[in-house]
């Protein structure tokens, strides 16, 4: 979900009636507003936040902010949302003087005023964004793209996924499950006990021998367990991939929900992390959330820049020697090819395998001639086609061989 001054103002307004005297009611309202903006907060967190608030001088605004943030926010990505809401939520009354005791229950005059103020500010901000040259915007994006930014130069439109039917996806879902297990299977360093295995487990051998009065009769062994790899999925959602978007969503959703430890990103001209958006069992809801938050859907492509963002902000922590990076893209790139090549090299160095799935590969006279694809080719471990269910099944088989 996109967080702007308007949505924040709307969230504050909608919980205005729930605000009351004292810390707790206000915090509950605050938490509800956070929820509306897409940040999950549990009741126990709110209670702890309220307890914490009693421990500091809440007239000190920065302390109060730190207190609420450390209790309610569990990932850095939500900090900007929190800060925007915090500023708006607690500023309505003269905060510094009388913190929460005087919060006005009706709140209507103050709120309607806030609403006006919000609109005005939002408008100003948008105008300001428009006047910033494109390059500056991009720099900003690199650092802070948890909040989707507005960029007028690029073709941005929202995609409506509502027409997508779930029933036709059964076959795809099965194939994805197969692929998911193949991509993800690896031998673990963690061991489990069993009759056969390489090493003896003295602890359990001892335990079992108790029934024979300490005489060792059965040896208990340990064997290596199957362990799941981590997968990072990078999906191209630019205009040229439009006709596959339905499949892409399925694939991202399927993979993420079948496996533990999948990180999902989409990119066109810039990159967005959507892992948290599709971490749900309800696909319809997930689709709505994605289409609501990704602005670059069906825009142009800049693979190099997107990968750069990925390498800079996410790869150092998310990609390790046991991570499989899966890129789904047709390779049509309008950006700097040498940048793309550099970034591919970077990913290659960090990860276990790079798999590139290209929906165009299936068409008869396709050759990976576009510059972007050519630059990426040397760094790929697997270059495969995905365009229909059959190709998915064969992808599953290939992966099976690869793991075996």
């Amino acid at each position: 979900m996109e967080v702007t001054q308007e949505t924040v103002a709307a969230a504050v307004n909608s919980v205005a009636s729930a605000r009351g005297k004292g810390t707790l009611p206000n915090l509950m309202a605050f938490a509800r507003a956070l929820k509306q903006l897409g940040v999950k907060v549990s009741l126990s967190q709110v209670l702890d936040a309220s307890r914490s608030a009693d421990l500091v001088d809440i007239a000190e605004k920065s302390d109060f902010r730190a207190v609420l943030r450390s209790n309610l926010i569990l990932q850095k990505e939500d900090f900007p949302t929190f800060d925007m809401l915090f500023d708006r939520f607690w500023r309505e009354q003269s905060y510094e003087r009388v913190p929460m005791e005087t919060m006005d229950i009706q709140g209507t005059p103050a709120d309607s005023h806030a609403q006006e103020g919000g609109d005005e500010e939002g408008g100003l901000e948008e105008a300001a964004v428009e006047s910033i040259p494109k390059e500056d915007l991009q720099l900003e994006n690199l650092d802070e793209f948890a909040v989707p930014t507005y960029s007028p130069q690029e073709l941005m439109n929202r995609k409506d996924f509502s027409e997508m039917g779930v029933e036709e996806s059964r076959a795809i879902a099965r194939a994805i499950l197969l692929i998911a297990t193949k991509i993800a299977t690896q031998i673990s360093r963690r061991k489990k006990i069993g009759r056969k295995g390489n090493t003896v487990d003295p602890r359990w051998t001892m335990r079992r021998s108790m029934k024979y009065g300490g005489e060792i009769i059965d040896l208990v062994h340990r064997k290596k367990r199957i362990k799941k790899t981590r997968v990072v999925l990078l999906c191209d959602v630019s205009g040229s991939m439009d006709c596959y978007s339905r499949f892409l969503i399925q694939f991202m959703y399927g993979l993420q929900n079948e496996l533990w430890g999948v990180e999902t990103f989409v990119f066109s001209t810039s990159l967005s992390r959507i892992t948290h958006l599709i971490r749900t069992k309800d696909i319809g809801n997930a689709l709505e959330k994605i289409s609501g938050s990704i602005l670059g859907w069906s825009g142009g492509t800049n693979i190099g820049r997107s990968l750069h963002t990925f390498n800079r902000n996410f790869a150092p922590s998310m990609v390790t020697h046991r991570t499989v990076v899966v890129i789904i893209s047709d390779g049509w790139d309008r950006g700097d090819v040498s940048l793309l090549e550099r970034e591919m090299q970077d990913i290659k160095r960090r990860c276990k395998k790079i798999i590139w799935l290209n929906p165009l590969l299936a068409s008869e006279n396709y050759e990976p001639l576009c510059k972007g694809m050519q630059a990426a080719l040397p760094y790929l471990d697997l270059f495969l086609s995905v365009h229909n269910v059959n190709s998915l099944v064969s992808l599953g088989r290939t992966l099976q061989k690869m793991v075996a």
């Binding site: 999950k40 549990s42 126990s44 967190q45 702890d48 307890r51 914490s52 421990l55 500091v56 920065s62 302390d63 902010r65 730190a66 207190v67 943030r69 450390s70 209790n71 926010i73 569990l74 990932q75 850095k76 900090f79 673990s188 360093r189 963690r190 061991k191 003295p202 602890r203 001892m206 108790m210 009065g213 300490g214 362990k227 981590r230 533990w260 430890g261 892992t275 750069h308 800079r312 150092p316 922590s317 998310m318 390790t320 970077d346 160095r349």
Partner: protein, 306 residues
Amino acid sequence: MNPEQLTIEQVQEILLKEKYVCDRALATVVYLSLIMGKPLLLEGEAGVGKTEIAKVLAKVLDAKLIRLQCYEGLDSNTALYEWNYPKQMLRIKLEEVEHGDKEKVETEIFTQEYLIKRPLLEAIQTDGAGPPVLLIDEIDRADMEFEAFLLEVLSDFQITIPELGTLTAKHRPYVFLTSNRTREIHDALKRRCLYHWIEYPTFEKEYEIITTKFPEVESKMARQICAFMQKVREMNFYKRPGVAETLDWASALIALNRKNLDDKTVVETMGCVFKYREDLHHLREQMEGRQLNLDALLRASPEMVS
């Protein structure tokens, strides 16, 4: 020192006394964590001082530091407790020779005497006067199973050993968890913790860190170092250097008796800051191409009064 009577300012002060420079927000969450007895989850890039704060706190609170370094495959045997089976085995054999009572042996070999305490059990059963500081380092490296199991320990501060019963904490330990974010920590665990993200320091904070750790350093060189580090963190390096690298570098420069930073010195000592061949190469290129200009950096950096 009794943590319950501290204020936020005092937390900041006592940490500074041990040369840990921390901003007000971090001091606030540390204070809360101490008072509420809630674990504190610290995230941030490598080398920003996540582990350090737990160590320093243990020192200033005069508490025992119990550290659990997480790794893949860490299981409850290594984290919690294990029976001392060779000793048990020996006892059984001895009793066998002396024709001892089987029932008696069976109960006796499962007593505290035959128990090996691992960090988590140690944190709960510690004998000291006050609560210990439990540092669970790099929790993101451990696997999901371990996380789930930690959940149980951190919510009740008790451990159930089937043969012995439930052991409850004498003093609830101060718990610090750190994560480098190589993967997301499960929400259930996060919800039991306070959360704080430690950013790379600003120019001013980094300057303060250097001058606190190395009072002998010249103000100009400290400014040069900070300006340089701030700049390279913005640039495109494979591994961005943290505060730990800054301190390594500063101490190297002091050991070499340098009073001023020039291009040659930087190139000579860069091994302290960059640990990849490509990064070193990239740096040399940038310095030759004057994209990274020490004098310009120094000029652009704020004046500091020490």
